[in-house]
Structure formats: C-alpha cells, structure tokens
C-alpha cells in the first residue's frame, strides 16, 4: 500500500501533521490499525533506529520522529482497543532517584508503545520504594530503569535491592539503560538486561517477554 510507505517516510522525516493526516486517511480507507502500526509506524521507526545507530540521524531528529509517532498512536489507540488488539505486555519505566533526565526514558516509552506494549511511566527521580509499590499495584512484566549520571546510576542497584527485599524480584524482569551504564554494570547490579539505545531497548523487551 503506497500510503503506508508514505506514512513511514513522513515519520522518518518527523512531520507530525502529515503523519496524523495519513494515519486518519488510512483508517478512513479501511486499513486496520494493526497494519498501520506495523507497516507504517514501526517500519518507519525501525529505519529511524538504524539511522541513529549509523550516525545519519541524531537525537533532535529522532525526537521529532518519536513525537510524530506519538501523535499517530493517539489516533490509533481507540481503534486498536475496539479491534481487541491486546497489549504485548505491561512495561513500567522510571528514572532512578536523584536523576532528573528523561529524554532517553521518554523515547523508549514511545517506541515501546509503538511496538504494542502498555507503558506505565513513573517519571523522574523515582524513589526505590515507589518502584516496589508500583510493581505491587500494576504487576508489570518488565521494569525499565534509566539513569544519565555516573552519580545516579548507583541508585539502580538500590532500586533493584528494594525490589528484591520486597520479595518481588522473581516477578519482574529488569532492563537498564542510560549514558553511563553498560552490560557489565547491568551484570554487576543484577539486572536482567541492558540496552544501549531506544531501538535496542525494544528488542531487549521483546526478548525478555519471550523468554
């Protein structure tokens, strides 16, 4: 379908208005929301992710694309619900205690929503106890912890310890990400996975859900 390619192209270029218009147009023409999501939005964001990885796109452009995707998802959500399209899983996310950076976390959240997951965003500067309480309330399959500073990344460990102390560690998988963290750090603090960028985060979530 030509319009799906058009949708993906507008998304890659970060044209939110055009993405919204084409999304609506496709729905009017009878395309299923699932097709629009998979063959338009996710296809577009996959290209964005690749271009980011190869240095063809940088964060400002990626944010534009993510913002456009968010607009389209708003249009699609009621239709997805009406069609009974089920969430692929519940993911909870938060930037750890003491850290006020959220660009990366927000980007991952939008990408996960686009990939069909339900995302619960606990926001910034999340205390370890708040993670524990939110796990008890929402029972997510995965928690994503974000930190941007060498000084706050250690609070990822504190959050994981609090979750373990509450007897909840076996009930959730934990994914970490952020500029200063690494696979080694994830291993050291007992996280289940590490993702170095938003695209990888979606891949890791899919892997963890399937495991």
């Amino acid at each position: 379908m030509k319009e799906l390619q058009e949708l993906a192209d507008h998304l890659i270029n970060g044209y939110a208005d055009r993405v919204a218009a084409v999304t609506q147009d496709l729905l009017n023409k009878g395309a299923t929301p699932q097709t629009i999501l998979n063959d338009g939005l996710i296809a577009g964001m996959t290209v964005v992710g690749e271009r980011m990885r190869t240095g063809e796109m940088y964060l400002p452009e990626v944010l534009q694309s993510a913002s456009a995707m968010h607009v389209s998802l708003k249009i699609l959500k009621p239709h997805l619900a009406k069609d009974g399209v089920e969430s692929r899983g519940k993911i909870m996310m938060g930037t750890v205690k003491g850290d006020m950076h959220d660009i990366g976390k927000n980007l991952v959240g939008i990408m996960l929503e686009g990939a069909g997951f339900e995302v619960i965003d606990l926001g910034l500067n999340v205390q370890p106890q708040k993670f524990v309480e939110a796990i008890q309330t929402h029972q997510p399959a995965i928690i994503g912890l974000s930190a941007m500073l060498t000084t706050t990344m250690l609070n990822m460990k504190t959050a994981i310890e609090a979750i373990a102390h509450a007897g909840l560690r076996s009930k959730v998988k934990i994914l970490i990400g952020g500029a200063p963290v690494s696979q080694k750090f994830a291993d050291d603090i007992g996280a289940d996975a590490y993702a170095r960028d938003a695209v990888k985060a979606v891949d890791k979530v899919k892997e963890l859900i399937a495991a």
Partner: protein
C-alpha cells in the same frame, strides 16, 4: 596543562558533588553555604592534592537558576545532586525571549555564593594551584532554560530562535565568568549538552561553535589564557570544531578515541584531559584503578599537553580510590622521567 614540558603528568579529577563528602555534608547543603563550600574545596585540596580546583558542585544549574529556573535541593542526609525542576523552565516559545532577565552575578541565585567561595579559595591557595570557577557553556545553559527535550526539537523546528536563546545565554555566562576573573580566579566551561550523544557535528558548528568561540575570546581578552572546555561523551566526531572553539585544553572523555585526540591536539598544540571511567569508583579496588590509570597514561605518553582526569567522581568515592589514581600518575611520571 599549558602544553609545556613538565616533570609529571597533571592530575585533574572531576570532583564536583563529591566535594561535599570532604566536609561530611551533602551537595544540596554545601552548594548554598559559602563557609562549608570553601572548607570543602580546601579539604579536597588537602586530601587529594589535584593540579587544579573547580569551584562548582552542580555545575549546570547556576546560570539558569540565576535567570529564574527553580532548582530542586534535597533534604538532610540525601546526597542527590541538585537539579533544575523540569516544570520550571522559563522559555516556552518566541514570545518569552524578551522576558528573560539578565542576572546580576553579585545578586542573583547562587552566583554570588560561588564567586565568594572562589575569592576565598584564591586567597588561600591561589599561589599554589589554579582555581577555576565553573560556568556552563551556552548550549547547556540554553537546554536548562528551555528544557533539554524541547530545546533539541527547536534546533530543527525553530533554528533562528535557538540562535537567539544562545546569544542570551552566552551573555549571561560572559557576565558570570567575568565576575570570577575580577577576583583573580580562572574559568572552566562545561558544555556536555553539546556532545554528539545529543547533537550532530553539523548542529555543533551551526549552533554552538560561534557563541563558544566568542565567550572564550572574551575571557582571553580579560587575560584568562588557559580556558578548559569540557564536553563529555565521545566527542571524536566534533574534534575539529571543538579545537576551533579556542579552548586551550579540551576533554577526551573515556568513550572517546585518545589516539585521535593525541594526533590532533599535538598538531594544534593544545592540551587534552583524558578521563578514566568513574562508573565503578565506589565499588572497584585501588589495584584495578592503578592498572586502569597506567593504561590511560600510556595513551598520552610523552605528550606535554596530556592531563590525566576522571569522569565525575560519585558522591562517596573512597579517598583511597582517588589517591590510588594519583599515586599511579606520580609513579608513572617518575618512571618516565628516570
């Protein structure tokens, strides 16, 4: 640190929020208290004996706070680093540019605290060691004023406005930096929001280079000949414009390629600071740190402009870990000059 031959490699660890640890306090308390902040810097010097001191705890907040953003300070015993409250950003669109107020470094926010602390430390140690007041780079300050995500998007949607905000920020920083220079203090510029982790090399040239060049030039006009410019992350892709800023010592953070920095900085006769990764500073061992330091020192072997530094030391980094790095630098220098 000025690219002149020396008997040893200078050691400049990044101790900002960790300063508070030296006086058994927290970053939120120390950064607002002239006496404690001064004592923290003096204690840092006594304990670590670095080759330069930086007057700054939460180095990216001061200018934006002085313009009117709110900073979140943490309560007693909480060692979290103060940060701009995201919902207090001042700039929401082009109508706001005229309402931004030029702060007075002698009155607004914590600028007078930091200048007073710098004055105290220059009086106490100025003859022994370079003392530098920390200022934000224009791009980083602008990101704080506008909110990082919005600001990054504006670089695409409204580039002319970005230039205007940058102009305002550069002027604020110039005034603040001048206040440091007037009391005999040096200046170090921090601009990690302009790293390629966030913006492209083309964007760096378009938005960051010119205001940064002008800022550094204005400091040089005031007699500050050694202006370090700190941009964290892997900056290999912006190495050329980074050098064109005029900063005469630049940062080669741990993810960057030290070989490229050595080649380009040697040709341009600039110093560079190679950082050791600090992410495991609290949990690692002195032996591992000594080994890592030697590896880093090998990367700049023989180059007179090589400085050994660290990424930001987390609050609570054991003193023996910082001293292990320093000892390794000293031993390496002795071995090299023997």
């Amino acid at each position: 640190m000025e690219c002149r031959p020396s008997d040893r490699v200078p050691f400049v660890p990044a101790i900002y929020e960790h300063k508070a640890w030296f006086v058994h306090s927290t970053p939120s308390v120390v950064c607002r208290d002239v006496k404690l902040f001064t004592e923290a810097l003096l204690a840092e010097y006594e304990s670590v004996r670095p080759d330069a001191l930086t007057v700054g705890v939460d180095v990216y907040n001061v200018e934006a706070e002085a313009v009117g953003c709110k900073v979140r300070y943490y309560g007693e015993g909480d060692s979290s680093v103060p940060a701009i409250e995201p919902d207090t950003v001042l700039y929401h669109g082009e109508d706001d540019i005229g309402s931004l107020r030029m702060p007075d470094p002698s009155k607004d926010g914590r600028m007078p605290v930091n200048v007073e602390v710098a004055k105290n430390v220059v009086q106490a140690l100025g003859k022994e060691i370079p003392v530098r007041g920390a200022v934000s780079g224009p791009f980083s300050m602008a990101a704080s004023l506008v909110g990082p995500e919005n600001f990054l998007m504006l670089t695409i949607t409204q580039p002319a406005l970005v230039h205007e905000v940058m102009k305002f920020c550069a002027e604020v920083i110039k005034q603040y930096a001048t206040a440091f220079v007037r009391i005999g203090c040096g200046v170090v510029i921090f601009d990690s929001q302009s790293s390629p982790a966030l913006i492209s090399p083309d964007m760096y040239r378009d938005f960051v280079l010119k205001p940064t060049q002008e800022l550094i030039r204005s400091l040089q006009t005031l007699g500050v000949n050694n202006v370090p410019l700190i941009v964290g992350g892997n900056t290999s892709d912006i190495l050329e414009p980074y050098l064109e800023t005029g900063g005469n010592n630049i940062l080669c953070d741990y993810p960057a390629n030290a070989g490229e920095f050595l080649a380009r900085c040697s040709a341009a006769r600039r110093a560079f600071r190679r950082n050791i990764d600090s992410s495991d500073f609290i949990t690692t061992t002195p032996e591992k740190l000594r080994a890592r330091t030697r590896e880093c020192l090998d990367e700049g072997k023989g180059y007179p402009g090589f400085i050994l530094g660290t990424a930001v030391a987390p609050f609570g980094t054991p003193l023996e870990h910082l001293l292990a790095i320093k000892t390794a630098v000293e031993e390496y220098s002795k071995k090299g000059s023997a």
